[in-house]
């Protein structure tokens, strides 16, 4: 177990390094110099000179990459083309709204997928299963922006139950209830695709477990169906499903870009679109780098949880 963990951590290091190399190469393709982007545009002329010499703009590309990486590791992601503010700060301001949205969506998708997938599996090939499967496919196939627009049309414009966008009412009291009121629709829209995929996964994982001998034994000794399903089968069926949370990160972040755009949600996704429209490459780079690191760490987390929650797994 410890050897596995150590090895898994060691694999993550070259992946993270590879992510930075690839990021640097992409950044080199953009107009402007990646190292130049690290220099505060608001500094005095003398400071600019010193920084330029420090960072060595004329070094070979490998040397410049190493210097760039050194700065990035110290938290200097460069300065925004459009506002001149440090990229780390611009992104930092947007992290919390995105985190709120994605985590709520993740929790929501599990809250729907686990019971629905479980029921679909225990009543395989009945109308319950067919309806659940169809709805799951619908969730996977609905374009996020169309679902979002339809949600706004129905719940905000027609029924007037929910606000059309934003995180709180302008000039409101900024209370928790108001924030939740604004969160419902975007989080549900973002959760839809993940919930569909997860439901399919819970169902197939559950079916696999239900066919095993120990489940038959539990039935044979006269345990109530409910107990067999919940206490014996579900627990084991959920092992691979729980670890999927880490693997959901890329889909959630991509979905957040569109959801935030549709709902005018001031998070990293909306910042991405702003940065693209303004050709603000340092900001775009910062977002790409940070999301890639998140995804790599998510994968690591998924593997570790897997080995922790399932002691049967041996990696030798």
């Amino acid at each position: 177990m410890q050897r596995y963990l150590a090895r898994r951590l060691l694999i993550t290091v070259p992946i993270l390094l590879g992510i930075t190399v690839l990021s640097y190469l992409i950044l080199s393709l953009t107009p402007g110099d990646p190292v130049q982007m690290l220099i505060d545009p608001n500094a005095t002329q003398a400071d600019l000179e010193i920084r330029r010499r420090e960072l060595g703009l004329n070094d070979p590309i490998a040397v410049r990459y190493v210097k760039w990486l050194g700065e990035v590791l110290r938290g200097n992601l460069g300065y925004s083309f459009s506002t001149g503010a440090p990229v780390a700060r611009r992104i930092g301001e947007r992290v919390l709204p995105t985190l709120t949205l994605t985590v709520t969506a993740l929790v929501l998708s599990y809250a729907v997928a686990v019971p629905v997938g479980m029921v679909a599996a225990t009543r395989r090939y009945t109308w319950v299963d067919y309806v659940a499967t169809f709805v799951a496919f619908l969730g996977i196939s609905l374009p996020t922006f169309f679902l979002g627009l339809a949600g706004i049309y129905i719940f905000a414009l027609r029924l007037r139950w929910l606000p059309v966008g934003g995180t709180q009412t302008l000039g409101g009291d900024g209370g928790l209830l108001d924030a939740l009121h604004h969160l419902v629709l975007p989080a549900t829209v973002l959760a839809a695709a993940g919930a569909g995929a997860l439901t399919r996964y819970v169902r197939s994982s559950m079916l696999e477990v239900l066919g095993q001998d120990y489940v038959r034994t539990a039935h044979a000794k006269g345990l109530a169906e409910r107990l067999v399903v919940r206490r014996h089968a579900l627990r084991n069926a959920l092992i691979p499903v729980v670890t999927l949370a880490g693997l959901q990160i890329p889909a959630l972040l991509a979905g957040a870009v569109i959801t935030e755009q549709v709902f005018e949600w001031p998070g990293m996704g909306r910042l991405t679109i702003e940065a693209i429209n303004q050709r603000d490459y340092p900001v775009l780079m910062g977002i790409t780098l940070i999301t890639a690191v998140f995804v790599a760490l998510g994968n690591l987390l998924a593997d570790i949880t897997y080995s922790v929650v399932d002691p049967r797994i041996r990696y030798d």
Binding site: L29, I140, P143, P250, V257, T272, I276, V295
Partner: protein, 301 residues
């Protein structure tokens, strides 16, 4: 096996069942999956619509009717007109070409790359495998939509071909992983050793013996991948970073609906294209589901 023999014995004298190939059996299993068959039929209809767009569309999709901007559905324009005065139904019909070509071309591209990389990694093993596998991990770490947004903004004006190229060049790692796993498992099988003993070279071994046997899950992944590529193209075009007007795409037809006026008062502008995206992605996913059940039910895709 036993049942096949006993069946042959009991039917002695009667018609002997000819041995059936894997693909015949798979086709039979697929045809039993009613939802998948229905999906395939709808998909064929959408493809026919794309091919026959010139005949089916009542108007030129880019022609502007100066007498009707954002006009409600009428006899002349069955689904109304858009903000510039173009016929929505004609644009809807022509846009199927964009979605299907993005799906087909991008996925073909990354299946070819992914198959080559995966086969190379598994066949050569050792350092080659290590390097290629880490490369897959690295590329997989970048959320596709975000890296595509970046690429589209770097490589100049967004267009249909940029979207296809970027999707095709970035989509290969999952396919490579799949092929690698399959080839690793197949490499140890006896028919491969036998082929090698008979003097088959690397290329022949890979192309003739390993890849054909590894292709079933790739076909399933490619089908789901096509649905996904259509969704990504639609999202990019919706954001204004994919196919550019006046060329119609279901995604860019929804761009106008970001204005609340259009959203609230002109549903004919955004409901039909949204529905078409949903329909085509849904039926392709159904076909993928049927293929998975028919080819390899143990696959988790």
């Amino acid at each position: 096996m036993t049942s096949a023999i006993s069946a042959a014995v009991t039917t002695r004298g009667a018609r002997l069942d000819r041995p059936q190939s894997y693909w015949t059996l798979a086709a039979r299993r697929f045809l039993r999956h009613r939802v998948a068959v229905a999906g395939l039929a709808v998909l064929a209809a959408i493809a026919a619509m794309a091919v026959l767009a010139g005949v089916l569309a009542p108007h030129n999709p880019t022609a502007i009717d100066a007498t009707a901007f954002r006009a409600a559905p009428s006899a002349v324009h069955p689904l109304g007109t858009d903000s510039v005065g173009r016929d929505v139904l004609s644009r809807l019909v022509y846009a199927s070409r964009v979605s299907l070509s993005v799906g087909l071309l991008a996925v073909t591209m990354y299946v070819v790359i992914g198959t080559a990389v995966g086969a190379a990694a598994a066949y050569h093993g050792g350092t080659v495998d290590l390097v290629l596998s880490r490369l897959m991990d690295i590329v997989l770490s970048f959320p596709p939509l975000i890296i595509i947004l970046f690429a589209v903004s770097v490589f100049g004006r967004p267009s249909l071909w940029n979207v296809i190229l970027v999707l095709g060049l970035l989509g290969w790692p999952p396919v490579a992983r799949l092929v690698r796993g399959q080839v690793l498992a197949l490499r140890q099988q006896e028919f491969v050793h036998a082929a090698r003993a008979m003097g088959a070279g690397d290329v022949r071994l890979i192309l003739r013996h390993l890849l054909p046997n590894a292709m079933a899950p790739v076909l399933v992944a490619a089908t789901f991948g096509t649905a996904n590529a259509i969704l990504i193209e639609a999202a990019l075009s919706f954001l204004g970073l994919g196919v550019q007007p006046p060329t119609p795409s279901w995604g860019n037809m929804l761009t106008d609906a970001q204005s609340l006026t259009v959203l609230e008062q002109m549903p004919w502008l955004w409901v039909p294209p949204g529905f078409m995206i949903l329909l085509s992605v849904l039926v392709i996913n159904f076909v993928g589901d049927g293929l998975r059940d028919a080819l390899d039910p143990s696959l988790k895709l």
